[in-house]
Symmetry: C2
Subunit: 718 residues, 2 copies
Amino acid sequence: MNHASYDAFVQPRSVAIIGASDDGQKTGGRTLRYLDTYGYEGEVHPINPRRASVQGKRAYPDLAAVGRPVDLAIIVTPAEHAVAALEQCVTAEVPAVITITSGFAELGADGAALQRELQAVLRGSATRMLGPNCVGLVSVRAKLAATINTGMDQDRFDLRDGGIAFLTQSGAMGAFVFNMSQTRRVGLGSLISTGNEMDVSFPEMLHALLDDPAVSGVAGYIEGIRDGEAFAGALRHAQEVGKPLAFLKVGRSPLGVEAIASHTGALAGSDAVYSGVFEQYGVTRIAGVEALADWAQMVDLARRPAGDRLSVTTTSGGGGVLVADHCTDLGIRMATWDGEWQRKLADALPEYLSARNPIDMAGTGGNSEALREVLALMGDHPGTDVAMVLIGNLDKEEDPLIQVLHEAHRATSKPLVVVWVGGSGRPVVELTSRGVPAYTDPGRALQALSGLMAAQRAAARPPATRPPIEEGRRERARALLTEARAAGLGVLDEHRAKQLLALYGVPVVQETVATDPDAAAAAAERLGYPVAVKLLADDVAHKSELGGVLLGLSSAGEVAGAAKDMLARLPRPVADGARLLVQPMVAPGLEMLLGIKRDEAFGPVLVVGLGGTWTEVLEDVQLRLPPLSAEDVDDALGALRSARLLGAFRGAPERDRDAVVAAVQGLALLAAELADEIAELDINPLIVGPRGNGAIAVDAVVVPRVACPSSTPEGARP
Amino acid sequence: MNHASYDAFVQPRSVAIIGASDDGQKTGGRTLRYLDTYGYEGEVHPINPRRASVQGKRAYPDLAAVGRPVDLAIIVTPAEHAVAALEQCVTAEVPAVITITSGFAELGADGAALQRELQAVLRGSATRMLGPNCVGLVSVRAKLAATINTGMDQDRFDLRDGGIAFLTQSGAMGAFVFNMSQTRRVGLGSLISTGNEMDVSFPEMLHALLDDPAVSGVAGYIEGIRDGEAFAGALRHAQEVGKPLAFLKVGRSPLGVEAIASHTGALAGSDAVYSGVFEQYGVTRIAGVEALADWAQMVDLARRPAGDRLSVTTTSGGGGVLVADHCTDLGIRMATWDGEWQRKLADALPEYLSARNPIDMAGTGGNSEALREVLALMGDHPGTDVAMVLIGNLDKEEDPLIQVLHEAHRATSKPLVVVWVGGSGRPVVELTSRGVPAYTDPGRALQALSGLMAAQRAAARPPATRPPIEEGRRERARALLTEARAAGLGVLDEHRAKQLLALYGVPVVQETVATDPDAAAAAAERLGYPVAVKLLADDVAHKSELGGVLLGLSSAGEVAGAAKDMLARLPRPVADGARLLVQPMVAPGLEMLLGIKRDEAFGPVLVVGLGGTWTEVLEDVQLRLPPLSAEDVDDALGALRSARLLGAFRGAPERDRDAVVAAVQGLALLAAELADEIAELDINPLIVGPRGNGAIAVDAVVVPRVACPSSTPEGARP
């Protein structure tokens, strides 16, 4: 979306409402009413062919009759008139349209047909459209409530502007979260409901929001992304521009996927892929509704922490312990106070309290002057990156405490986070209004803080860039795959698979193809013993199940004999034309599995895990998208629950982690360059030696992709 | 604590305040003021030797001068006068005392000495004491605010009575939670701060609360329990009487443990033991502050669910998906609507909405009449155990919706849970006030619901009872241990260890002790091949490190030869007097480890896990306390992350789970009967065969306990 289109959505100079109704309670009338209620200052043109005025405003029979340029048109007609309404917009060259009207792809085949008509109208024009079947858009800075969300019927809130945009695939959830956040005085500066995403998609709007200097972070509610590549591109963009993202992605569970399928027909996608992608780009994965507002408040208000060391002062020793527990769960460190800083702290505290972090001020923490002194120390202490205050109740001291906290916030460049449990609730709202992040629960505050920290870490790491495609290598790889397809193979044999891997720098075991047992014995003599001899036959992916893997053979006689026996046991069609693969035995090491899977939305996805039964028992794998920097791979390895096995463990030596990283990066390059050619690839095992001794792919299977154009399934989300 | 003492704490007919001050803002005056503010109706006697009246009430120089019986005395004097104050109470035979005064064991050696003086005063008397160093007690039904908690300074709340007692080891956190809950209209009927637990301990008060018919559940904040056995007894009691428990136990992390040590010197104890114990008795482990109030509201208000099948109706399809996700995480099932019930549901919904659960009512959900119809169906539907409503905003429809929800709650015997996101916030408070559990976040509501369900399941399962100690067996076992101790052994040898296990019905491998290699060969001939030969020597716990384990020997010659070589390689002091253990090789199977560890607070704890490196990598063990029913053990096995390996998995057969259960129960019996005799016991491995083929302990180590009286460390929690 270009800047002009984006601006027309969020800061239009003029708005037309097509299908505007005189009844401000009806869907057709509500948007016009909200524009008025919230004080939109641009021109507003109701379009209604049957009325001269609507809600006291001059109405026009159609857009052409307006006779002035319209930046944003909002379609609220019944579905059967939406096509004609959109035609008017295209004709009038309206840059931005929000089709709120529902009754399209979300309703099955008939609706989908109607949506295709809408799509045809838009094709080739410069008009961009949000929706259909969405609740619309609210842009606080433009005082624009272009929505049918009845949550706007709370006259009591003057909307609070702020740097956080909220982008949602569920209109109702979006309305809930927007309303709840505004009530808490959290600065959600915009609410954008994407509906069926017929034209403007979630990733595209996300990308545009990130380019808006008024937006400092984006929160979102996701059911399923159709264009994974565009989504990943937007996430990389967020990392580049250093703007934190947080998504509540539903459909984590089979039950949830079923519910999505039932309510919209949208593709939930593999949840493990989303988890991997979020991890990769430092995106916070939000678990609950209120946690979205918690995060938004933190990102909107908190200063950016320089590190992850937290000091907390509290009136409750028990609360300090709880904070320490939460910090451990969330990977936040507790700051250390020692030497002169500990002495300074001791001077600020009554004698009976010990000077350490968590800083238990007991009853004195409710004294605003005592608190002021400790806050100043936390601001100055070089070992503290984040200052937190945990207090509670204290109804009689609210005002002086609010004042001290507000001043401390202004006086420091570090984030100050306040948690005020119990009491009247007023201090939390008041502090938030004054720009101090304030919460009612320490766990929720720290969860939000950890999201901010993760985004900071991701932004500090340059995103991996895709190296230019090396044509020579790619052509050789394609030739291998074409040859296999030409031979009618559904699966590449082990030898070809390893040739492919070697092209991309993944170390593979040295091996010789032999046509018969005697040739295998001769090859073994050249390679040196012990050797492995494996069946090499077309379309046999699981040769061990056919007895086709012979390990640890230690003489020419043994090789020839065992190979003959193996061939004799095979079913005739397999034995005919079968060859033998002779490899030196690789020294035992840590077994890992690497692979590529194809995701419907995201395309090729890298899979990394430890090998063997346990990986399967625990489903302990990490998924990532190409391209991958070395740091990205290292993080993925660290995220495995079994990561300890890569270090020195129980007498086993530290493993060659660098070699694993290099192999995964090679595989990522392969995945990127051959994205359309590979359906699936498995290296199992990659044997990882002690540090400095490398890692080597001992077996591999490649399933080439049967050519088919990538289809974009139709979907819709009400 | 007997009933009379308990009643004197929570429903005293008369209260004396020793050290009462005329200044209602000071610590000494606050309690007297709160008794007045909250309308305590019994007699109140301020004790102050320097004043004739205090806060307008007649004061007495000492307790004796009151001349009437006092049920509850509250000591708020400075620490140096507390001993004399307690002496007055003992003399006057006051049944219950709350010593709020601080300055005791929580302040190091001097304070501990003063606390010992207090303790000496109490010894032998019938007076029971809470504290010292606590914030006191609030009992809503008695209108008794016997506390210094300044959170009571919110005149705006008339306290709400309810069935949930809140027991806390942190005074400040207790005050925060109590206040926050009351503001939300959650029925915390009492707040009891246990302080240093010099006399009345957390477990003892917990037990007494469970016997109070007005208490339907207990929530607690725990830093560390000193008497684990009493605590476990109280948890078993809760299971028996079917009252749900939930604890926020802090000190989960090393950081948290450090913080506890710093702020109180209390023992945090091994957190893994707490997790196991909570799991065992169906206790909900609470993670955060607000979650405590969430749980309390659910247990206080919700009807008891007959099962775990939830139906949810919502105005947000996206919200329904989120509910399904949360349910999967929490082990709550989604109810199925089919056949006639699906037809009935379809009749109640507009045609464009699909009749299934989650029941997406879209916009019609905001219509109270439409909602009434769906609620009635959820109440009637036999496949629904819990009905949930998820709506949001709807400020203009609040009153009719509240009415419909309240009526639906009254009309059904199933729990109805309301989640109302955003909006004015009034409906949640109003519904709670009317007895309908209502929340602002679906995840928080479902978390609380899952706690209630877990307690229901635990209550449905009779607690394991300790079988009577079988003296003959225990005497034989003790003889074995005494013999080892007499021989100066720090560790029982493998043979003795297995004899001990066999006494308790744990199957052990058949074996013969041989004095020399030739005798070993003869024994092998009798046992049949292949055999294992192991070094049997005093105080060698890890014989494999000395090369003392020879496996898979298959002839007399091999046995004699290998055994001779092994003995020759041993250092002289070990070889002298060493014997040999000859065992038939056990067929390979699933390797598990079972054991007993000693916890400072809880005594002997059973450890169950899968064997091998992975268990260590993942720390995948479960801890439980004896006694254990078969269901208890089965649950513990199911809680292992690697539990799938006990079933048929990847071509391996299903394992003999019953045999594992029997072995663990035998070990639990051993742990209970020999609690004071065993410091540590490890069976590694227990080899588990296919179903019907049993499980057998192949190796075991027992460390007898060096006799020492169990010490009760002094501790304190402000």
